[in-house]
Amino acid sequence: MRCWRDASILGMHAGGMTMCGIVGLYLKDPTLQASLGELFAPMLIEMTDRGPDSAGFAIYRDPVSEHQTKFTLASDDPDTDWKALDTDLARALICQARLDIQGDHAVLVTDADAFAAQAWLAESRPRIRVVGSGRSIEIFKQTGLPKDVVEQFKLTSAHGSHAIGHTRMATESAVTTAGSHPFATGLDLCLVHNGSLSNHNHLRRKLERDGIVFQTENDTEVAAGFMTLNLRRGLSLHAALEAGLVELDGFYTFCVGTADGFAVVRDPFGCKHAVLAETGEWVAMATEYRAIAHLPGADTARIWEPEPHKIYTWGSA
Protein backbone atom coordinates (compact mmCIF):
# COMPACT_ATOMS: atom_id res chain seq x y z
CA MET A 1 0.00 0.00 0.00
CA ARG A 2 1.40 3.36 -0.90
CA CYS A 3 0.41 5.54 2.00
CA TRP A 4 2.84 8.34 1.49
CA ARG A 5 1.62 10.40 -1.39
CA ASP A 6 -0.06 13.57 -0.22
CA ALA A 7 -1.44 16.51 -2.06
CA SER A 8 -3.31 19.66 -1.41
CA ILE A 9 -5.41 22.01 -3.41
CA LEU A 10 -4.30 24.79 -1.19
CA GLY A 11 -2.09 24.64 -4.22
CA MET A 12 1.27 23.55 -2.97
CA HIS A 13 1.95 21.49 -6.05
CA ALA A 14 0.53 19.61 -8.96
CA GLY A 15 0.80 15.95 -8.06
CA GLY A 16 3.90 14.18 -6.89
CA MET A 17 4.84 12.10 -3.91
CA THR A 18 4.81 14.00 -0.66
CA MET A 19 4.25 13.47 3.01
CA CYS A 20 2.37 16.24 4.68
CA GLY A 21 0.48 17.50 7.67
CA ILE A 22 -2.99 18.99 7.78
CA VAL A 23 -4.63 21.02 10.52
CA GLY A 24 -7.98 22.69 11.06
CA LEU A 25 -9.52 24.81 13.80
CA TYR A 26 -13.18 25.78 14.06
CA LEU A 27 -14.18 28.16 16.83
CA LYS A 28 -17.54 27.43 18.44
CA ASP A 29 -17.11 30.29 20.90
CA PRO A 30 -17.25 33.61 18.97
CA THR A 31 -15.32 35.43 21.70
CA LEU A 32 -12.22 33.48 20.63
CA GLN A 33 -12.36 34.84 17.07
CA ALA A 34 -9.97 37.68 17.87
CA SER A 35 -7.29 35.10 18.69
CA LEU A 36 -7.86 32.59 15.87
CA GLY A 37 -4.41 33.22 14.39
CA GLU A 38 -2.71 33.05 17.75
CA LEU A 39 -4.30 29.62 18.36
CA PHE A 40 -3.91 28.33 14.80
CA ALA A 41 -0.36 29.41 13.90
CA PRO A 42 1.31 27.02 16.40
CA MET A 43 -0.77 24.17 14.94
CA LEU A 44 0.70 24.80 11.51
CA ILE A 45 4.23 25.25 12.88
CA GLU A 46 4.01 22.03 14.94
CA MET A 47 3.48 20.15 11.66
CA THR A 48 6.83 21.39 10.28
CA ASP A 49 8.38 17.92 10.65
CA ARG A 50 5.72 16.57 8.32
CA GLY A 51 6.05 19.42 5.85
CA PRO A 52 9.07 21.73 5.94
CA ASP A 53 9.02 22.68 2.24
CA SER A 54 5.94 24.82 1.97
CA ALA A 55 2.85 25.73 3.90
CA GLY A 56 -0.50 27.27 3.24
CA PHE A 57 -3.67 28.11 5.05
CA ALA A 58 -7.19 29.32 4.47
CA ILE A 59 -8.75 31.67 6.95
CA TYR A 60 -12.41 32.65 7.12
CA ARG A 61 -13.01 36.23 8.22
CA ASP A 62 -14.65 39.57 7.44
CA PRO A 63 -17.38 38.35 5.06
CA VAL A 64 -18.12 40.88 2.33
CA SER A 65 -21.64 41.89 1.35
CA GLU A 66 -23.79 39.75 -0.93
CA HIS A 67 -22.99 41.66 -4.13
CA GLN A 68 -19.26 41.65 -3.51
CA THR A 69 -16.60 39.00 -4.06
CA LYS A 70 -13.35 38.57 -2.23
CA PHE A 71 -10.42 37.21 -4.23
CA THR A 72 -7.06 36.18 -2.86
CA LEU A 73 -4.41 36.81 -5.51
CA ALA A 74 -0.82 35.63 -5.62
CA SER A 75 2.09 36.62 -7.79
CA ASP A 76 5.44 34.96 -8.31
CA ASP A 77 6.84 38.22 -9.69
CA PRO A 78 8.30 40.43 -6.94
CA ASP A 79 7.87 43.50 -9.16
CA THR A 80 4.11 43.08 -9.43
CA ASP A 81 2.49 46.49 -9.41
CA TRP A 82 -0.39 45.69 -7.07
CA LYS A 83 -1.23 49.37 -6.67
CA ALA A 84 -2.50 49.83 -10.19
CA LEU A 85 -4.53 46.62 -10.12
CA ASP A 86 -7.56 47.90 -8.21
CA THR A 87 -7.70 51.19 -10.07
CA ASP A 88 -7.33 49.45 -13.44
CA LEU A 89 -10.04 46.95 -12.56
CA ALA A 90 -12.35 49.72 -11.32
CA ARG A 91 -11.85 51.65 -14.54
CA ALA A 92 -12.24 48.62 -16.83
CA LEU A 93 -15.36 47.17 -15.28
CA ILE A 94 -16.78 50.40 -13.83
CA CYS A 95 -16.91 48.95 -10.37
CA GLN A 96 -15.48 49.45 -6.94
CA ALA A 97 -12.32 47.56 -6.03
CA ARG A 98 -10.22 47.52 -2.89
CA LEU A 99 -6.85 45.84 -2.59
CA ASP A 100 -5.05 44.81 0.58
CA ILE A 101 -1.49 43.62 0.00
CA GLN A 102 -0.19 40.87 2.30
CA GLY A 103 3.29 39.59 1.54
CA ASP A 104 3.28 38.46 -2.09
CA HIS A 105 -0.46 37.90 -1.91
CA ALA A 106 -3.22 40.47 -2.05
CA VAL A 107 -6.87 40.38 -1.10
CA LEU A 108 -9.14 42.05 -3.64
CA VAL A 109 -12.72 42.99 -2.77
CA THR A 110 -14.89 44.09 -5.65
CA ASP A 111 -18.56 44.50 -6.49
CA ALA A 112 -17.88 43.59 -10.13
CA ASP A 113 -19.43 40.40 -11.47
CA ALA A 114 -17.15 37.64 -10.17
CA PHE A 115 -16.75 35.91 -13.53
CA ALA A 116 -16.10 39.23 -15.29
CA ALA A 117 -13.51 40.16 -12.69
CA GLN A 118 -11.73 36.85 -13.08
CA ALA A 119 -11.83 37.12 -16.87
CA TRP A 120 -10.33 40.60 -16.62
CA LEU A 121 -7.58 39.33 -14.30
CA ALA A 122 -6.73 36.46 -16.66
CA GLU A 123 -6.60 38.87 -19.60
CA SER A 124 -4.77 41.85 -18.20
CA ARG A 125 -2.78 40.30 -15.33
CA PRO A 126 -1.92 36.83 -16.65
CA ARG A 127 0.91 36.35 -14.17
CA ILE A 128 -1.35 36.82 -11.20
CA ARG A 129 -3.07 33.71 -9.94
CA VAL A 130 -6.42 33.60 -8.19
CA VAL A 131 -5.80 31.33 -5.20
CA GLY A 132 -9.13 31.72 -3.47
CA SER A 133 -12.49 33.33 -3.91
CA GLY A 134 -15.72 33.70 -2.08
CA ARG A 135 -17.22 36.01 0.49
CA SER A 136 -15.06 35.27 3.52
CA ILE A 137 -12.24 32.93 2.53
CA GLU A 138 -8.65 34.16 2.25
CA ILE A 139 -5.89 31.77 1.20
CA PHE A 140 -2.15 32.22 1.68
CA LYS A 141 0.61 29.83 0.77
CA GLN A 142 4.30 29.95 0.13
CA THR A 143 7.40 27.80 -0.10
CA GLY A 144 9.62 27.73 2.96
CA LEU A 145 9.25 26.70 6.56
CA PRO A 146 5.76 27.00 8.06
CA LYS A 147 7.08 29.50 10.62
CA ASP A 148 8.28 31.78 7.82
CA VAL A 149 4.97 31.49 6.01
CA VAL A 150 3.17 32.29 9.27
CA GLU A 151 5.34 35.36 9.68
CA GLN A 152 5.07 36.57 6.10
CA PHE A 153 1.28 36.57 6.20
CA LYS A 154 1.04 37.73 9.84
CA LEU A 155 -1.07 34.71 10.75
CA THR A 156 -0.48 35.05 14.49
CA SER A 157 -2.38 38.34 14.68
CA ALA A 158 -5.19 37.19 12.37
CA HIS A 159 -8.79 37.01 13.53
CA GLY A 160 -11.51 34.84 12.02
CA SER A 161 -14.02 32.07 12.65
CA HIS A 162 -12.12 29.04 11.34
CA ALA A 163 -8.98 28.08 9.49
CA ILE A 164 -7.49 25.05 7.79
CA GLY A 165 -3.88 24.55 6.82
CA HIS A 166 -1.38 22.29 5.18
CA THR A 167 2.37 21.71 5.47
CA ARG A 168 4.09 19.96 2.63
CA MET A 169 7.09 17.69 2.43
CA ALA A 170 7.97 17.28 -1.23
CA THR A 171 9.51 13.90 -1.90
CA GLU A 172 9.19 13.85 -5.65
CA SER A 173 7.71 16.89 -7.36
CA ALA A 174 9.33 20.32 -7.25
CA VAL A 175 8.88 22.81 -4.45
CA THR A 176 6.90 25.60 -6.10
CA THR A 177 3.92 27.78 -5.34
CA ALA A 178 2.37 27.00 -8.70
CA GLY A 179 -0.85 25.08 -8.96
CA SER A 180 -3.65 26.82 -7.19
CA HIS A 181 -7.01 26.40 -5.68
CA PRO A 182 -9.74 26.05 -8.34
CA PHE A 183 -12.04 28.95 -8.85
CA ALA A 184 -15.19 28.42 -6.83
CA THR A 185 -17.21 31.63 -7.03
CA GLY A 186 -19.07 32.46 -3.88
CA LEU A 187 -18.57 28.99 -2.51
CA ASP A 188 -15.79 29.77 -0.09
CA LEU A 189 -14.75 26.16 -0.44
CA CYS A 190 -11.37 25.04 0.68
CA LEU A 191 -10.10 21.55 1.12
CA VAL A 192 -6.83 20.16 2.43
CA HIS A 193 -5.95 16.59 1.77
CA ASN A 194 -3.57 14.01 3.11
CA GLY A 195 -3.47 10.98 0.84
CA SER A 196 -3.92 10.23 -2.84
CA LEU A 197 -6.72 9.46 -5.26
CA SER A 198 -6.48 6.69 -7.82
CA ASN A 199 -9.39 7.53 -10.14
CA HIS A 200 -8.73 11.26 -10.51
CA ASN A 201 -8.09 11.21 -14.27
CA HIS A 202 -11.42 9.58 -14.97
CA LEU A 203 -13.22 11.91 -12.57
CA ARG A 204 -11.48 15.00 -13.97
CA ARG A 205 -12.76 14.21 -17.47
CA LYS A 206 -16.26 13.72 -16.08
CA LEU A 207 -16.17 16.97 -14.10
CA GLU A 208 -14.77 18.91 -17.07
CA ARG A 209 -17.83 17.89 -19.06
CA ASP A 210 -19.87 19.45 -16.27
CA GLY A 211 -18.01 22.73 -16.63
CA ILE A 212 -15.42 22.48 -13.85
CA VAL A 213 -12.14 24.05 -14.94
CA PHE A 214 -8.90 22.57 -13.61
CA GLN A 215 -5.59 24.37 -13.40
CA THR A 216 -3.34 21.44 -12.53
CA GLU A 217 -2.97 17.66 -12.85
CA ASN A 218 -3.29 17.44 -9.07
CA ASP A 219 -5.57 14.67 -7.76
CA THR A 220 -6.69 16.81 -4.84
CA GLU A 221 -7.90 19.53 -7.15
CA VAL A 222 -10.24 16.89 -8.57
CA ALA A 223 -11.65 16.25 -5.10
CA ALA A 224 -12.25 19.97 -4.67
CA GLY A 225 -13.78 20.20 -8.14
CA PHE A 226 -16.07 17.35 -7.21
CA MET A 227 -17.18 19.14 -4.02
CA THR A 228 -17.57 22.44 -5.90
CA LEU A 229 -19.86 20.89 -8.51
CA ASN A 230 -22.01 19.17 -5.90
CA LEU A 231 -22.29 22.30 -3.77
CA ARG A 232 -23.24 24.30 -6.88
CA ARG A 233 -25.98 21.76 -7.49
CA GLY A 234 -27.38 22.63 -4.10
CA LEU A 235 -26.08 19.75 -2.01
CA SER A 236 -25.02 20.46 1.58
CA LEU A 237 -21.35 19.95 2.40
CA HIS A 238 -22.32 16.79 4.26
CA ALA A 239 -24.19 15.44 1.24
CA ALA A 240 -21.34 16.41 -1.11
CA LEU A 241 -18.85 14.53 1.07
CA GLU A 242 -21.18 11.55 1.20
CA ALA A 243 -21.22 11.51 -2.60
CA GLY A 244 -17.42 11.78 -2.47
CA LEU A 245 -17.17 8.61 -0.38
CA VAL A 246 -18.88 6.79 -3.25
CA GLU A 247 -17.07 8.43 -6.17
CA LEU A 248 -13.56 9.15 -4.91
CA ASP A 249 -11.34 6.08 -4.96
CA GLY A 250 -8.10 6.15 -3.00
CA PHE A 251 -6.95 6.97 0.48
CA TYR A 252 -7.46 10.34 2.01
CA THR A 253 -8.17 12.41 5.02
CA PHE A 254 -9.96 15.61 4.03
CA CYS A 255 -10.42 18.69 6.15
CA VAL A 256 -12.91 20.98 4.43
CA GLY A 257 -13.98 24.54 5.14
CA THR A 258 -16.95 26.46 3.81
CA ALA A 259 -18.13 30.00 4.71
CA ASP A 260 -19.65 28.82 7.98
CA GLY A 261 -18.90 25.11 8.14
CA PHE A 262 -16.10 22.71 8.86
CA ALA A 263 -15.90 19.00 8.01
CA VAL A 264 -13.53 16.06 8.35
CA VAL A 265 -13.74 12.77 6.48
CA ARG A 266 -11.47 9.75 6.04
CA ASP A 267 -11.52 7.08 3.36
CA PRO A 268 -13.05 3.67 4.20
CA PHE A 269 -9.64 2.20 5.10
CA GLY A 270 -8.57 5.08 7.34
CA CYS A 271 -5.12 4.95 5.83
CA LYS A 272 -3.89 8.42 6.78
CA HIS A 273 -3.46 9.63 10.33
CA ALA A 274 -6.02 11.98 11.81
CA VAL A 275 -7.11 13.03 15.25
CA LEU A 276 -10.01 15.20 16.39
CA ALA A 277 -10.37 17.13 19.63
CA GLU A 278 -13.43 19.03 20.83
CA THR A 279 -14.28 21.27 23.76
CA GLY A 280 -17.23 23.59 24.33
CA GLU A 281 -15.19 26.37 22.72
CA TRP A 282 -13.53 24.78 19.67
CA VAL A 283 -13.06 21.78 17.41
CA ALA A 284 -9.59 20.96 16.12
CA MET A 285 -8.36 18.44 13.58
CA ALA A 286 -4.76 17.51 12.94
CA THR A 287 -2.61 14.78 11.43
CA GLU A 288 -1.03 14.38 14.86
CA TYR A 289 -2.31 15.37 18.30
CA ARG A 290 0.83 17.37 19.14
CA ALA A 291 -0.48 20.11 16.82
CA ILE A 292 -3.50 20.44 19.12
CA ALA A 293 -1.77 20.02 22.49
CA HIS A 294 -1.16 23.75 23.07
CA LEU A 295 -4.81 24.80 22.64
CA PRO A 296 -6.53 26.02 25.81
CA GLY A 297 -8.43 23.12 27.37
CA ALA A 298 -6.79 20.46 25.16
CA ASP A 299 -5.86 18.51 28.29
CA THR A 300 -9.49 17.85 29.09
CA ALA A 301 -10.87 17.92 25.53
CA ARG A 302 -12.67 14.94 24.07
CA ILE A 303 -10.05 13.35 21.83
CA TRP A 304 -10.68 10.63 19.30
CA GLU A 305 -9.51 9.24 16.02
CA PRO A 306 -12.19 9.92 13.40
CA GLU A 307 -13.74 6.71 12.14
CA PRO A 308 -13.15 5.87 8.50
CA HIS A 309 -16.05 6.36 6.09
CA LYS A 310 -17.79 8.71 8.50
CA ILE A 311 -18.45 12.40 7.92
CA TYR A 312 -17.94 14.79 10.80
CA THR A 313 -19.35 18.30 10.38
CA TRP A 314 -19.64 21.44 12.45
CA GLY A 315 -21.39 24.73 11.73
CA SER A 316 -23.85 24.81 8.85
CA ALA A 317 -22.07 22.16 6.83
Binding site: F269, H273, D299, I303, E305
Partner: protein
Protein backbone atom coordinates in the same frame (compact mmCIF):
# COMPACT_ATOMS: atom_id res chain seq x y z
CA UNK B 1 7.90 10.46 43.25
CA UNK B 2 10.60 11.93 40.96
CA UNK B 3 9.09 14.14 38.25
CA UNK B 4 10.31 14.51 34.67
CA UNK B 5 8.95 17.61 32.92
CA UNK B 6 8.97 16.79 29.22
CA UNK B 7 8.59 20.44 28.24
CA UNK B 8 11.84 21.17 30.02
CA UNK B 9 13.82 17.98 29.23
CA UNK B 10 12.47 17.02 25.81
CA UNK B 11 11.68 13.44 24.78
CA UNK B 12 15.33 12.43 24.62
CA UNK B 13 16.03 13.86 28.07
CA UNK B 14 13.08 12.05 29.62
CA UNK B 15 13.91 8.75 27.94
CA UNK B 16 17.61 8.99 28.85
CA UNK B 17 16.69 9.57 32.50
CA UNK B 18 14.45 6.49 32.47
CA UNK B 19 17.03 4.37 30.67
CA UNK B 20 19.63 5.35 33.27
CA UNK B 21 17.72 3.90 36.20
CA UNK B 22 19.63 0.83 37.43
CA UNK B 23 17.77 -2.35 38.29
CA UNK B 24 16.80 -2.36 41.96
CA UNK B 25 17.02 1.44 42.28
CA UNK B 26 15.30 3.05 45.25
CA UNK B 27 12.89 5.11 43.17
CA UNK B 28 10.50 2.74 41.39
CA UNK B 29 7.83 5.38 40.63
CA UNK B 30 8.29 8.13 38.05
CA UNK B 31 6.00 10.86 36.81
CA UNK B 32 6.17 12.47 33.35
CA UNK B 33 4.41 15.82 33.00
CA UNK B 34 3.64 17.93 29.91
CA UNK B 35 3.83 15.13 27.32
CA UNK B 36 2.12 17.49 24.81
CA UNK B 37 1.40 14.69 22.35
CA UNK B 38 5.09 14.12 21.61
CA UNK B 39 6.18 10.85 20.03
CA UNK B 40 8.23 7.95 21.42
CA UNK B 41 7.79 8.84 25.09
CA UNK B 42 9.06 6.16 27.52
CA UNK B 43 10.29 3.92 24.73
CA UNK B 44 12.80 1.13 25.22
CA UNK B 45 12.47 0.91 29.01
CA UNK B 46 14.04 -2.16 30.59
CA UNK B 47 13.61 -1.94 34.37
CA UNK B 48 10.84 -2.86 36.83
CA UNK B 49 9.68 0.72 37.34
CA UNK B 50 6.25 2.38 37.29
CA UNK B 51 5.92 5.38 34.98
CA UNK B 52 2.86 7.63 35.09
CA UNK B 53 2.31 10.04 32.21
CA UNK B 54 -0.02 12.93 32.93
CA UNK B 55 -1.56 13.91 29.62
CA UNK B 56 -1.98 12.82 26.01
CA UNK B 57 0.88 11.13 24.18
CA UNK B 58 1.79 10.93 20.49
CA UNK B 59 2.95 7.94 18.45
CA UNK B 60 4.78 4.82 19.69
CA UNK B 61 4.59 5.57 23.43
CA UNK B 62 5.98 2.67 25.49
CA UNK B 63 7.38 0.98 22.40
CA UNK B 64 9.69 -2.02 22.96
CA UNK B 65 8.87 -1.93 26.67
CA UNK B 66 10.39 -4.58 28.93
CA UNK B 67 9.46 -4.99 32.59
CA UNK B 68 8.16 -1.45 33.18
CA UNK B 69 4.59 -0.47 33.98
CA UNK B 70 3.47 2.63 32.06
CA UNK B 71 0.15 4.38 32.74
CA UNK B 72 -1.08 7.14 30.46
CA UNK B 73 -3.67 9.51 31.87
CA UNK B 74 -4.95 10.53 28.48
CA UNK B 75 -5.19 9.57 24.82
CA UNK B 76 -2.46 7.59 23.06
CA UNK B 77 -1.50 8.12 19.42
CA UNK B 78 -0.59 5.56 16.79
CA UNK B 79 1.32 2.42 17.80
CA UNK B 80 1.03 2.49 21.59
CA UNK B 81 3.27 -0.24 23.11
CA UNK B 82 4.33 -1.43 19.68
CA UNK B 83 6.73 -4.33 19.92
CA UNK B 84 6.37 -4.52 23.71
CA UNK B 85 8.27 -7.52 25.12
CA UNK B 86 7.02 -7.59 28.73
CA UNK B 87 5.59 -5.34 31.43
CA UNK B 88 2.31 -3.46 31.24
CA UNK B 89 1.04 -0.39 29.40
CA UNK B 90 -2.30 1.09 30.42
CA UNK B 91 -4.08 3.86 28.49
CA UNK B 92 -6.83 5.50 30.51
CA UNK B 93 -8.27 7.24 27.47
CA UNK B 94 -8.58 5.90 23.94
CA UNK B 95 -5.87 4.86 21.50
CA UNK B 96 -5.30 5.57 17.82
CA UNK B 97 -4.53 2.83 15.32
CA UNK B 98 -2.12 -0.10 15.47
CA UNK B 99 -2.16 -0.39 19.26
CA UNK B 100 0.16 -3.17 20.41
CA UNK B 101 1.44 -3.78 16.89
CA UNK B 102 3.86 -6.72 16.67
CA UNK B 103 4.17 -6.89 20.47
CA UNK B 104 5.70 -10.11 21.81
CA UNK B 105 4.63 -10.06 25.44
CA UNK B 106 3.30 -8.11 28.39
CA UNK B 107 -0.18 -6.66 28.88
CA UNK B 108 -1.66 -3.67 27.06
CA UNK B 109 -4.86 -2.26 28.56
CA UNK B 110 -6.85 0.42 26.77
CA UNK B 111 -9.70 1.60 28.95
CA UNK B 112 -11.42 3.51 26.14
CA UNK B 113 -11.66 2.56 22.47
CA UNK B 114 -8.85 1.43 20.21
CA UNK B 115 -8.89 2.50 16.59
CA UNK B 116 -8.19 0.40 13.50
CA UNK B 117 -5.65 -2.44 13.33
CA UNK B 118 -5.48 -2.99 17.07
CA UNK B 119 -3.11 -5.92 17.69
CA UNK B 120 -1.89 -6.02 14.08
CA UNK B 121 0.68 -8.81 13.75
CA UNK B 122 0.73 -9.35 17.54
CA UNK B 123 3.19 -12.03 18.54
CA UNK B 124 2.32 -12.97 22.09
CA UNK B 125 1.09 -9.81 23.81
CA UNK B 126 -2.22 -9.76 25.69
CA UNK B 127 -4.41 -6.78 24.81
CA UNK B 128 -7.55 -5.86 26.74
CA UNK B 129 -9.73 -3.07 25.34
CA UNK B 130 -12.48 -1.69 27.59
CA UNK B 131 -14.34 -0.16 24.64
CA UNK B 132 -14.52 -1.03 20.96
CA UNK B 133 -11.88 -1.66 18.30
CA UNK B 134 -11.72 -0.34 14.73
CA UNK B 135 -11.53 -2.22 11.46
CA UNK B 136 -8.92 -4.86 10.68
CA UNK B 137 -8.08 -5.45 14.32
CA UNK B 138 -6.11 -8.63 14.89
CA UNK B 139 -4.85 -8.50 11.29
CA UNK B 140 -2.30 -11.33 10.84
CA UNK B 141 -2.19 -11.77 14.61
CA UNK B 142 0.19 -14.61 15.40
CA UNK B 143 -0.16 -15.36 19.10
CA UNK B 144 -1.41 -13.81 22.32
CA UNK B 145 -4.92 -12.66 23.23
CA UNK B 146 -7.06 -9.73 22.14
CA UNK B 147 -10.01 -9.01 24.44
CA UNK B 148 -12.63 -6.50 23.27
CA UNK B 149 -15.33 -5.54 25.78
CA UNK B 150 -17.23 -3.46 23.21
CA UNK B 151 -17.74 -4.02 19.48
CA UNK B 152 -15.33 -4.88 16.69
CA UNK B 153 -15.50 -3.11 13.34
CA UNK B 154 -15.07 -4.73 9.90
CA UNK B 155 -12.68 -7.52 8.97
CA UNK B 156 -11.82 -8.67 12.48
CA UNK B 157 -8.90 -11.09 12.50
CA UNK B 158 -8.19 -10.98 8.79
CA UNK B 159 -5.52 -13.59 7.90
CA UNK B 160 -5.12 -14.42 11.58
CA UNK B 161 -2.66 -17.11 12.69
CA UNK B 162 -2.86 -18.49 16.23
CA UNK B 163 -3.85 -15.46 18.33
CA UNK B 164 -7.11 -15.85 20.27
CA UNK B 165 -9.70 -13.09 20.27
CA UNK B 166 -12.62 -12.57 22.65
CA UNK B 167 -15.34 -10.04 21.80
CA UNK B 168 -18.29 -9.15 24.01
CA UNK B 169 -20.20 -6.89 21.63
CA UNK B 170 -21.10 -7.01 17.96
CA UNK B 171 -18.60 -7.97 15.27
CA UNK B 172 -19.31 -6.00 12.08
CA UNK B 173 -17.65 -8.64 9.92
CA UNK B 174 -14.92 -11.25 10.10
CA UNK B 175 -11.83 -11.02 7.91
CA UNK B 176 -10.50 -13.75 5.65
CA UNK B 177 -10.01 -17.08 7.43
CA UNK B 178 -11.32 -15.80 10.79
CA UNK B 179 -14.16 -17.79 12.37
CA UNK B 180 -16.09 -17.96 15.60
CA UNK B 181 -14.99 -20.85 17.79
CA UNK B 182 -16.39 -22.74 20.72
CA UNK B 183 -15.81 -21.17 24.14
CA UNK B 184 -14.42 -24.04 26.22
CA UNK B 185 -13.71 -23.95 29.99
CA UNK B 186 -10.01 -23.24 29.46
CA UNK B 187 -10.92 -20.19 27.38
CA UNK B 188 -13.31 -18.90 30.03
CA UNK B 189 -10.59 -19.35 32.63
CA UNK B 190 -7.98 -17.54 30.50
CA UNK B 191 -10.40 -14.69 29.77
CA UNK B 192 -11.24 -14.31 33.47
CA UNK B 193 -7.51 -14.15 34.21
CA UNK B 194 -6.97 -11.45 31.54
CA UNK B 195 -9.93 -9.32 32.68
CA UNK B 196 -8.73 -9.61 36.24
CA UNK B 197 -5.19 -8.60 35.30
CA UNK B 198 -6.59 -5.65 33.35
CA UNK B 199 -8.80 -4.71 36.29
CA UNK B 200 -11.87 -4.61 34.07
CA UNK B 201 -15.18 -5.79 35.45
CA UNK B 202 -16.86 -7.98 32.84
CA UNK B 203 -18.44 -11.45 32.85
CA UNK B 204 -16.39 -13.87 30.71
CA UNK B 205 -19.60 -15.73 29.92
CA UNK B 206 -20.77 -12.81 27.76
CA UNK B 207 -17.87 -13.05 25.31
CA UNK B 208 -17.48 -15.02 22.09
CA UNK B 209 -14.20 -16.48 20.87
CA UNK B 210 -12.73 -15.97 17.39
CA UNK B 211 -9.68 -17.44 15.76
CA UNK B 212 -8.15 -18.90 12.62
CA UNK B 213 -9.95 -21.42 10.42
CA UNK B 214 -6.42 -22.38 9.31
CA UNK B 215 -7.32 -22.56 5.65
CA UNK B 216 -4.60 -20.08 4.61
CA UNK B 217 -1.68 -22.08 5.95
CA UNK B 218 -1.41 -24.28 2.89
CA UNK B 219 -1.73 -23.66 -0.80
CA UNK B 220 -5.12 -24.67 -2.14
CA UNK B 221 -4.92 -26.20 -5.61
CA UNK B 222 -8.37 -24.79 -6.41
CA UNK B 223 -6.82 -21.32 -6.31
CA UNK B 224 -4.15 -22.14 -8.88
CA UNK B 225 -5.92 -20.00 -11.48
CA UNK B 226 -5.44 -16.92 -9.33
CA UNK B 227 -1.68 -17.00 -9.83
Amino acid sequence: MPKLDLKELGVRGVNSALHGIPNGANEPDWLITNPMGQHAIACGLDAPIEVTINGHVGFYCGGMNQQAGITIHGHAGVGIAENMMSGQVRVMGSASDSAGATAHGGLLVIEGDASSRCGISMKGVDIVVGGSVGHMSGFMAQSGHLVVCGDASDALGDSIYEAIMFVRGKVASLGADCVEKEMRPEHLAKLAELLNAANIDADPGNFRRYGSARTLYNFDIDNADAY
